[in-house]
């Protein structure tokens, strides 16, 4: 099963579940906003999405991940709008029988997200100016 949410506001983490009996691994990844972006101090990032396409691409990617790796569930929340330094912008949870496939699935999912989901960052600098981030991820 997958769950995908794009949220304008603080992320509420997915609830821990102690009822799962088939999954030996629960992987949680939280991406947070660093204080520097391209070597400059920032106060926040502002995430911009292509509304509609971003959620569709993220959903398709989650489905591909579940087919490519033997994992059971993948839940993902991505924040848009202003995210202050230190706050969570991306929250992903993957459940799998063993850790290996879960770790591989998590790495692949996040790498692909950074290549194809139409979401961008604007850096909010200390003087309040707002510029597109030039930070490119491989």
């Amino acid at each position: 099963m997958i769950k995908i949410e794009i949220i304008n506001g603080p992320i509420e983490f997915f609830r821990n579940e102690d009822s799962r009996q088939k999954d030996g691994a629960e992987l949680i990844f939280n991406g947070r906003v660093r204080v520097t972006e391209n070597g400059e101090n920032i106060t926040a990032l502002e995430y911009e999405q292509y509304k509609g396409m971003a959620e569709a691409e993220l959903t398709q990617l989650a489905e591909e991940t579940c087919k490519k790796f033997p994992i059971h569930d993948l839940f993902c929340k991505h924040r848009i709008g202003r995210v202050d330094v230190g706050e969570t912008s991306l929250h992903v949870v993957i459940w799998s029988k063993h850790r290996k496939e879960g770790l591989e699935a998590m790495t692949w999912f996040i790498s692909e997200l950074k290549k194809r989901v139409p979401i961008w960052k604007w850096a909010i600098l200390e003087d309040g100016s707002r510029i597109p981030s030039e930070c490119a991820h491989g």
Partner: protein
């Protein structure tokens, strides 16, 4: 003539100073024709930016003929996460 809605994001939005453009093009115009127009409007600010094309909210790998009321986005490198 055909009417095309161009959505602008990130560096494209920054270069053009607009969220979107509504353009009238000749019948038979393609995504490549439109990309040239967008790059010209940016006055060189997009020269070093690689752009993928989304047509009606789906990535397309090749030059495609546009139809009336198509929605096009030129997608600069994405940065989610």
């Amino acid at each position: 003539m055909i009417n095309i809605n161009v959505k602008c994001f990130s560096q494209v939005k920054y270069a053009l100073g607009k969220d979107e453009l509504n353009l009238e093009l000749e019948v038979g115009a393609t995504t490549l024709d439109l990309e040239k127009i967008i790059r010209e409007k940016a006055n060189g600010k997009l020269d070093s930016v690689s752009l993928r094309i989304a047509l009606n909210q789906k990535y397309i790998p090749h030059e495609t003929e546009l139809k009336d009321r198509d929605e096009v986005a030129f997608i600069p490198p994405v940065q989610g996460g």
